[in-house]
Symmetry: C2
Subunit: 347 residues, 2 copies
């Protein structure tokens, strides 16, 4: 059934098990809600892609995947679809890859509003356009009520790593400078407030953003950038611990250099949370040699996602694998990996 503009009309307002059954209802849902927006090149099960960048001798294919289960699925500053596109774009970008193509697989709970799916899909298309990637293939599955929570999305991204590019945690050396691209913890604190069960009123907006353009700017400006990590689950603390361990260096950060909104600090104080472990979805930490730090800051600040770029610390020779923070009072404390769970379903 099509309307006067030729667009497929879906009569249902909620997803039923029939929409996952492989028949007519599924095809109608896919065409009306997904492929009309994502506009893949064909309706074969597989996308068929040409990528000249991959044919360059020495180029490598980058591949990464993430499932998104955030609750609530819509929150100030974004929704699960924005997270799914940005999260996968960022995983490619922080590894030095140029993101090219995404797949998107949806697990949908029976009874989910189709209008909600349409909003999520529209966000995904917008974010993909901004990031310069295409969503080329996908899948939908429907499960009964109570067997999932509204919608889960798994995005997989492929990109290309240009010859000679080698960003990895193990590259960080003593003396390298650690830079973040903006205030920390907004996403975690925003989701916490959006859940409503803490009765926190908040104007916080998730920091969710694609960081592909930022990474491209940094790589162009800093030929020796060592490594970058997006600070998602487990926050800045986990990213720094991974880097310290992989590189066999110590990392020392300065508490008074950490960019934090008063509101995020306040939320953490009330709830006994540590902002170092709060999730971010548009923040990364970057290590560059000291003589490239100024160039990296300038490059980051040249794009909107890096306006708040600032140095937070540096790598030291020892003790290997340890992250410490010099506190406002002049002491030092160890910043360990997160133990236990701070906030489930944050992304």
């Amino acid at each position: 059934m099509k309307d006067v503009t030729g667009q497929k009309v879906l009569r249902d307002s909620r997803v039923t098990l029939a929409h996952g059954g492989g028949g007519k209802a599924m095809r109608d849902l896919i065409e009306s809600v997904f492929t009309d927006v994502f506009e893949p090149d064909g309706m074969e099960d597989q996308a068929r892609l040409t990528a000249e960048a991959l044919a360059v001798p020495g180029a490598r294919l980058a591949m990464t995947t993430d499932s998104f289960v955030v609750t609530p699925v819509e929150f100030p500053g974004g929704d699960i679809g924005k997270l799914a596109v940005c999260g996968t774009v960022n995983d490619l970008a922080v590894g030095g890859a140029t993101p090219l193509y995404l797949s998107a697989a949806f697990i949908i709970e029976e009874g989910t509003e189709i209008a909600l799916l349409r909003r999520i899909v529209a966000t995904m298309r917008d974010e993909a356009d901004k990031a310069g990637v295409r969503i080329v293939t996908g899948d939908t599955k429907v499960v009964g009520r109570g067997s999932a929570d509204q919608v889960f999305i798994t995005t997989t991204g492929v990109g290309v790593i240009a010859p000679g590019v080698e960003l990895k945690a193990g590259n960080v050396r003593p003396g390298d400078v650690a830079i973040v691209n903006g205030v920390l913890g907004d996403h975690g604190a925003c989701i916490l407030a959006a859940r409503g069960d803490m009765a926190l009123s908040s104007d916080l907006v998730s920091d969710c953003a694609g960081l592909g353009h930022l990474m491209a700017a940094v790589q162009a400006a800093c030929p020796n950038v060592r490594a970058a990590r997006d600070c998602t689950r487990g926050g800045l603390a986990s990213a720094l611990n991974e880097i310290a361990e992989a590189a066999g260096v110590a990392v020392e950060i300065e508490e008074d250099a950490l960019p934090l909104r008063a509101e995020v600090k306040g939320t953490c104080e009330i709830l006994g949370l540590d902002p170092l472990y709060l999730a971010n979805e548009g923040r990364l930490v970057l290590f560059v040699p000291e003589d490239e730090a100024e160039a990296a800051l300038a490059a980051m600040r040249s794009v909107p996602e890096g306006e708040g770029a600032t140095v937070i610390g540096r790598a030291k020779p020892a003790p290997a694998g340890q992250v410490t923070m010099r506190t406002l009072f002049g002491g030092a404390r160890i910043v360990d990996m997160l133990v236990g769970e701070q906030l489930p379903r944050i992304c």
Copy 2:
């Protein structure tokens, strides 16, 4: 914590929310259950892959994704992990691509047994080895009890389509011969029996299998193979309807040529199901020009997954888009797309 063999020991017997939190518990789960078995090249978030086949001028990258939500997660002949690997390998293979790399993302319900995850991961590794693909990157998320049903897996596959290869539904022409690789409906009937709520006792085993080697054999033997489709959700009927519609041809199949086990026929008769719509996870339908049909049959029968290969019908000029079946009694009936839902969570 490591045991005497150096293997990481996980003290928990069930998954907790902490295993999804981005901290120490998550890292222990990932190392102990997933990466120790999948053995990716590094512990960066992204896999970095070289593929000489992709650098060949004219080669294309194939990409496909599927989420798996089958219940029960373990069944005669396989488990959700086997489905996840075979399903994605098959989506690549039926499009003429050589499968190369897979990603695997797990959404796990709190309380799921870690021993179950280990069995699933072991199956995935086995199937990937059989198919000649590598599982190169992955993700785990944990959701609370009741927010998912044990474990959902999303696999994404990339492969390479050699220059000049062009298998697609739209290529099928009148006169082409339709071939399936074995008995139909075993997977659907097996899952139905495994759920136990029908009180069917059954010796049926899922047909779940990777079809990459079969497709490679057919492509080597038949330079003009037109199209192939795996007959998963929606069964043979849906695959044939998609082909008939895309190619603008009619497809006529013969009821007495359809390979069906007596047990599957019986299950369908008791429950009022149509075997044409039963899901298969190791069956495909292939269209080849008439003069290549013998070569295709021989090629299929040369591999274990094609031992039961048989001709089931052919493409005709009209009526375009229609699939009909000549019945045992000499009549003909239209085989339409599945309407509604036959069996939820079959894959």
